[in-house]
């Protein structure tokens, strides 16, 4: 080590989030006793302007060359502090973060003594690791000014149009023979009362007119390789295989209402789903005079423990449409909880009640029983079972993920949750992004959404993608593996284990890793028997130092 290590440690109170459980003064005092630590400062909020400028000042004042922040999760806040380091003139990777909030104060609230000990340990491990941090530089890569949008439902179509409007080329894939998605089956969209069919036709016409959008129907995504700004997507459409170079990808693969097979005597005739009801409403074929709707069919149960969010509004919307057609029709909505969020939806709910739609609550222990021409329900206000006349029973079923969500997830290497909905990088901080740079999501593929929500997410995702696409080149951080060819034994282990097939043997018979392609997983680094692959971002020395500092 040529220059003397000078480490600054910054300990965040995070208001009472950390300081409410941990003794910050003690942590600061302790950090001060650790080797090479020259200054320790507590902050009320390290991520606030005062905190970050405090870091910058301390770097200058104490001539720091390593910065350690003990605060919240690096998954959200590391970029902020790395930027502070850079602004202060030291390499942003001479920074180490300790998570004493999510991993300590928030989860050990009832054992302060042990939490304090753990926080000390974590700070000690981070300081030890900081001594072995390596500077990491950035390099540039060209951006393909084209986007791939997967799915041409309302979300995908809206994204594609928005991107085209900004001047980017778009490859739009639709697995069905025509664009439109779920909306094709629906009647009217609440609360705006726009016809779903008209909305679809309007979007489809706009796409067909827009020269920048190339739409491929009956399409299947087959393979995606590359990285942000420079993806290569292979897909088939109507028997032909195409490969397009794209800079960003939007996942808008949608979802579908659950078919309630075996539930409440569902038969598709007398007991139907909300979307089947909408088809009837659309064609004007509804003649039933007594209708019972049952909410949460197949949802919020142990095997599908989520709320589909939109079904309550769908039921309210459709009950109002029925009342419009036949004022004297009896409409009952049997619900567990009503989800009618927002001013307009709340107003619609009220309007439905005023129009005479009866809302009756049930709970999971005594669900309604669908009989012949009636539905039996335990009425909580009357305290007994009551029969409701039901020429037609309408089941509100949740939106579920498509079967092919998993294959798209595998091809794009982006995660899905236990119900196979795509999982965003962070629910609050990056709700439309995947953890993988350059891939975004919107609409039902993420979670059940209304048309309005799907469109706003689609516009958001398009906007996120355009941030990438609008650059000629983007900077990539060199958090990648590098071969020290002097040490390479030419054993091909890296070539064989890399999941992205990046390493190869160069003309001299030694391994080579192209930094632009390396994804930075470190699998080859751990596998190389010659220890010839270096990974400055998470080096062996750093990991070993953290291990050695496990015990005081």
């Amino acid at each position: 080590m040529e220059t003397e290590l000078r480490i600054g440690v910054f300990v965040c109170h995070c208001g009472i989030n950390i300081a409410g459980v941990l003794d910050i003064e003690d942590l600061c005092e302790y950090a001060g006793t650790l080797p090479n630590v020259v200054t320790v400062q507590p902050n009320l909020f390290t991520c606030a302007e005062t905190g970050t400028s405090g870091i910058k000042n301390a770097v200058k004042e104490h001539d720091l060359n390593r910065v350690v922040v003990a605060a919240c999760t690096p998954r959200t806040h590391e970029p902020i502090f790395r930027a502070s380091c850079q602004e202060a003139g030291i390499n942003p990777y001479f920074f180490e973060m300790v998570n004493i909030r999510e991993h300590c104060s928030w989860v050990h609230r009832h054992d302060r003594e042990a939490a304090q000990g753990k926080a000390r340990d974590l700070i000690r491990m981070a300081v030890a690791r900081a001594m072995f941090l390596e500077p990491i530089e950035t390099f540039k890569s060209k951006v393909e000014p084209r986007a791939l949008v997967i799915g041409a439902g309302i979300a995908g179509m809206s994204s594609a149009l928005a991107l085209a409007g900004e001047g980017f080329d778009v490859t739009l894939l639709e697995k069905k023979a025509e664009m439109g998605g779920l909306l094709r089956d629906l009647h009217k969209v609440a609360p705006s009362e726009v016809g779903a069919g008209e909305l679809v036709e309007q979007k489809v016409a706009a796409i067909k007119q827009e020269g920048r959008i190339q739409c491929f129907t009956s399409a299947t995504l087959e393979e995606v390789s590359g990285y942000v700004g420079n993806y290569s997507a292979t897909f088939s459409s109507n028997g032909n295989t195409h490969t397009h170079k794209v800079g960003a990808i939007i996942v808008a693969t949608g979802g579908a209402p659950l078919k309630p097979m075996g539930l409440y005597n569902y038969d598709g005739k007398r007991v139907i789903t909300q979307s089947e009801l909408e088809t009837k409403l659309k064609s004007g074929k509804l003649d039933a005079k007594s209708i019972v709707m049952i909410q949460c069919v197949g949802a919020r149960i142990p095997e599908r423990n989520y709320c589909s969010r939109i079904c309550c509004m769908v039921a309210i919307k459709n009950s109002l449409h029925i009342k419009e057609i036949a004022k004297d029709a009896k409409v009952f909505v049997l619900y567990r909880d009503i989800q009618a969020y927002g001013v307009e939806n709340e107003a619609l709910f009220l309007k439905a009640k005023e129009a005479g739609v009866r809302f009756i609550r049930y709970n999971l222990e005594s669900p309604p029983v669908v009989g012949d021409g009636n539905v039996e329900i335990y009425h909580p206000a009357m305290g007994k079972e009551v029969p409701l006349p039901a020429e037609l029973v309408v089941l509100s079923t949740p939106i579920v993920a498509h079967d092919d969500a998993e294959s798209v997830s595998r091809i794009l290497k982006v995660p899905v949750n236990e119900y196979r909905f795509f999982l965003e990088a962070h629910a609050k901080l990056s709700p439309l992004d995947f953890a993988t740079n350059g891939i975004y999501l919107c609409g039902n593929a993420h979670y059940p959404a209304t048309v309005r929500e799907a469109i706003s997410q689609a516009l958001g995702a398009a906007s996120r993608a355009s941030i990438i696409l609008s650059h000629d080149a983007i900077e990539r951080v060199g958090t990648v593996a590098r071969v020290d060819q002097e040490l390479c034994s030419s054993c091909f282990a890296c070539v064989k284990v890399c999941p992205y097939q990046v390493p190869h043997m160069d003309e001299g018979g030694k391994a080579m890793i192209e930094p632009m392609q390396c994804q930075g997983c470190g699998i080859c680094v751990a596998e190389c028997p010659a220890e010839a692959i270096q990974f400055g971002y998470v080096s062996d020395a750093q990991i070993m130092a953290a291990c050695e500092a496990l015990c005081a």
Partner: protein
């Protein structure tokens, strides 16, 4: 022995288990304070030598927590990790240490509760096994 507090090192991947730990935090799910997370980009980054080092340096147990099988952000990293964990277990057997001190767990970023349960389960497992025979942990 009664007051034995295990010290457990956790190698946690950025995309899944570290995120699950964050979620456990933001959901305020309480779990035993015995684990010390070492963040890595992917569990495929963990080598057998890292696991051994943690044990040598005083951990009573070590576990590697990666993405659910088949959903590794880096495709096969958690599979490699699983193989290496098994190899590390075999090594421990060879020097007469309990292989249960090293474990592999899989969880998604959405499973905060699972992260907490795993921390609890591992703490109980190690508590049962007692302090590491390397005798570093002085908490008894």
């Amino acid at each position: 022995m009664n007051n034995f507090e295990p010290l457990i090192a956790v190698f946690s991947c950025h995309y899944c288990s570290y995120a699950a730990a964050d979620l456990a935090g933001s959901s305020r799910i309480q779990y035993p304070p015995n684990i010390r997370v070492i963040k890595i980009p992917c569990t495929g980054r963990v080598s057998v030598n890292h696991i051994l080092k943690a044990l040598e340096c005083g951990a009573d147990g070590v576990y590697v927590a990666g993405c659910l099988e088949g959903t590794c952000h880096f495709i096969s990293g958690n599979f490699k990790a699983k193989q290496r964990v098994q190899y590390a277990k075999n090594l421990l057997s060879e020097i007469n240490m309990e292989p249960e001190r090293v474990q592999m767990y899989f969880m998604s970023a959405a499973e905060g509760a699972k992260f907490a349960n795993v921390a609890k389960e591992m703490t109980e497992t190690i508590r049962e096994l007692g302090p590491s025979p390397l005798g570093q942990n002085k908490s008894e």
